[in-house]
Amino acid sequence: MDAGILTQQAFNALTIGAMYALIALGYTMVYGIIELINFAHGDVFMVGSFVTLWLLSTLGVQGTINDPPTLVAMLVVMFAFAMTVMGLVGVVIERFAYRPLRNAPRLAPLITAIGVSFILQNIIQVTFSNSPVNVPRVIEAQAGATLQLPQFAVGSFQVTASPVTFSYTHIFIVVLALALMVALQLFVGRTRLGRAMRSTAIDREAAQLMGVDINTTIALTFFIGSALAGAAGVAWALNYGTTKFDIGFQTGLKSFTAAVLGGIGNTTGAALGSFLIAFVEVFSSQLGYSRWSEAVVFAILIIVLVFRPTGLLGQRLTERG
């Protein structure tokens, strides 16, 4: 057994989980407030990575930035830009595709969501490319802190340890995702707007009677959810240095699985579910079943929905059977 490889893979899983979590939060928030599975959310994430690509090529950034102050400034600009743009895109989608159907049968907004997903994918496909495109990695990909774990033996059982690299990109993504999640928790839990969001989620009519502006609150939820997906898009570009017009579908579905696993409507659950899904994915590859990892994830989705639709941390089971 190699403790080094295990640690390395756990850290990789943490990074992937952080990205899933950023996306899953958007699913869970939107579901919590208007009970809609926003099929277009994965594509919002995908567009986020392309917005970053566009920004970098417009600014003329070709590759790694080695000067620390410039790098920090560039990261701030990248995230601020992608999050704002995608937040606004989310608001526009809600305004034109979902709001008019708020009182329609439940099938209707699900179908428009699929339509929006098609539209976003096709726009990116024709404006950028059919095939994967490279995004300049502003943080040097190889750079990182290396750690040598001790090697030991228990009886005849040898535990070896290859060196573990904690790359700066991974550290940055994990820290950023955690910071955004904490900020979201504080916003939802401590501010007036957050209270409006929670009350709208519990009972829309009652919240309206109490003076909450429902339309603004729902638009705000879409803004925050889509901005987080935009941040995930930037993180994806930083991590993989490449993106493609169709990454949104599978990544989105995995993140949705994570949200369901954690308990849909529950933001902490979304984060927990995301890390679990990422661990399952990474370690099933590590065990040599990489071709099956997607099937495993979606099988988890089906099993959770069938046996425990409220998820691990699910709170309220909705009233409709």
């Binding site: 595709a97 428009t112 339509g115």
Partner: protein
């Protein structure tokens, strides 16, 4: 019901079109009224003898299509054989759409993994009749075997999941639709992995001549017959006790349950019947292409069929069939012809501020999914009942304000 009288009835009853078209629409509705002595008895006949109408309607359409393509300007777009091959291919989508309509349109369950059953049907045929598997079961019984295999998987998936509420069901089916191609891809021993199974045996029937790549006519007739049978059966089902139960479950599950309908069995049957139609389409397609591979059955297939059902008019069997045919022909022929047209017309590039549009260089085929997307969103916002609505479905999909008018229409009907 038969297509033609139904179309004319749509003109008469369609207040939307009448309003939108104004005086022109009024002209059309007078036309409708003038034709009423002919149309109404036809409508009555066709609703009383649905199977006969479907078979006769399909026979007429099947007989006419090969001649329509000989008329200019369509004749310039390809040879008659190309067109017939295209129609045979369109038949696959018509079957898929008619089957998905049972699940989405009649029973109101959103199935996003419909391609999985299509794949199961196709692989069943590949396993039954190919050199790879060393089996050579004839095509015709394999049709039933494929349908049965797909229905079995429909039941297996449906039994635990149909208790879930609508949007969870959508996600579960989506997950299933992703898993099935992965399983076919990775079970190399049984499915030959990425390469798929090739050189499937093609059907044979003494009277129809040879089924082969150069001779699409037998395929065309075969798929027309399969569609006619499937549609006739589905019309019978729709008006049966089960069909009414589907609609009751769709409209209000709780009310349906309290009226004594076993909602789980009802939904399960919708799922299984929808899946079996998809399985039929799978067997037919694999025999036509003589190859199956996992990449043919991705989620875009499921979503395309859904777009066809929504555009055609959820719940209306012939509307959905017509929708699928139209969408397929636009996708396979219309966009290509649009390219040729603009390339030939030599329209100079249009300058709109900083945007330059050069119609001659745009490949309209690239915009296929954009068009689907816009159509899905636009349809749901403006006309959720689809192009060829079923009356009941339309009454349901419209808000309270016009429900009185819709009820009135139902009474009139």
């Amino acid at each position: 019901m038969n297509v033609l009288p139904r179309l004319l009835l749509v003109w008469r009853s369609d207040s939307y079109l009448r309003q939108a078209l104004g005086p022109v629409g009024a002209g059309f509705s007078t036309l409708g009224n003038r034709l009423a002595p002919v149309v109404v008895p036809m409508g009555k006949f066709s609703s009383r003898h649905q199977s006969t109408s479907v078979v006769v309607g399909m026979a007429i359409v099947t007989a006419l299509l090969p001649f329509i393509v000989l008329i200019w300007p369509i004749s310039g777009f390809g040879t008659q054989n190309d067109f017939i091959d295209g129609f045979a291919q369109a038949g696959v989508w018509v079957l898929l759409a008619v089957g998905l309509n049972v699940v989405v349109g009649l029973a109101g369950l959103l199935d996003l993994g419909y391609a999985a059953f299509f794949a199961i049907g196709a692989y069943t045929y590949a396993y039954g009749a190919s050199p790879f598997s060393h089996n050579a079961v004839p095509f015709w019984p394999m049709l039933l075997v494929g349908a049965a295999a797909a229905a079995t998987f429909g039941l297996l998936l449906g039994a635990p999941t149909l208790r879930l509420r609508g949007d969870y069901l959508a996600i579960v089916t989506l997950g299933f639709g992703e898993i099935v191609p992965v399983v076919f891809l990775n079970s190399d021993k049984y499915t030959n992995g990425t390469n798929g199974i090739t050189a499937l045996y093609q059907p044979s029937l003494p009277i129809c001549g040879d089924f082969g790549f150069g001779n699409p006519m037998p395929y065309y007739i075969a798929v027309a017959v399969i569609i006619a049978i499937a549609m006739a059966l589905l019309y019978r089902l729709q008006d049966s006790r089960l069909g009414r139960a589907w609609m009751a479950v769709r409209e209000d599950e709780l009310a349906a349950a309290s009226m004594g309908i076993n909602t789980v069995t009802t939904k399960l049957l919708a799922f299984a019947i929808g899946a079996s139609t998809s399985g039929l389409a799978g067997v037919y397609l694999s025999s036509k292409l003589a190859i199956v591979s996992p990449s043919q059955f991705g989620f875009t297939v499921s979503f395309t069929v859904l777009a066809m059902v929504v555009l055609g008019g959820m719940g209306n069997i012939w509307g959905v069939a017509a929708g699928a045919f139209v969408v397929y022909e636009i996708q396979s022929q219309g966009l290509k012809q649009l390219n040729n047209f603009f390339q030939g017309a030599g329209i100079p590039p249009i300058h709109l501020g900083f945007i330059n549009i050069d119609l001659t260089t745009i490949n309209f085929l690239d915009y296929q999914y954009l068009l689907y997307g816009l159509a899905l969103v636009g349809m749901m916002l403006l006309r959720p009942e689809g192009l060829f609505p079923s009356r009941r479905r339309r009454a349901e999909l419209h808000d309270v304000d016009d429900s009185a008018a819709a009820n009135q229409e139902l009474v009139e009907a």
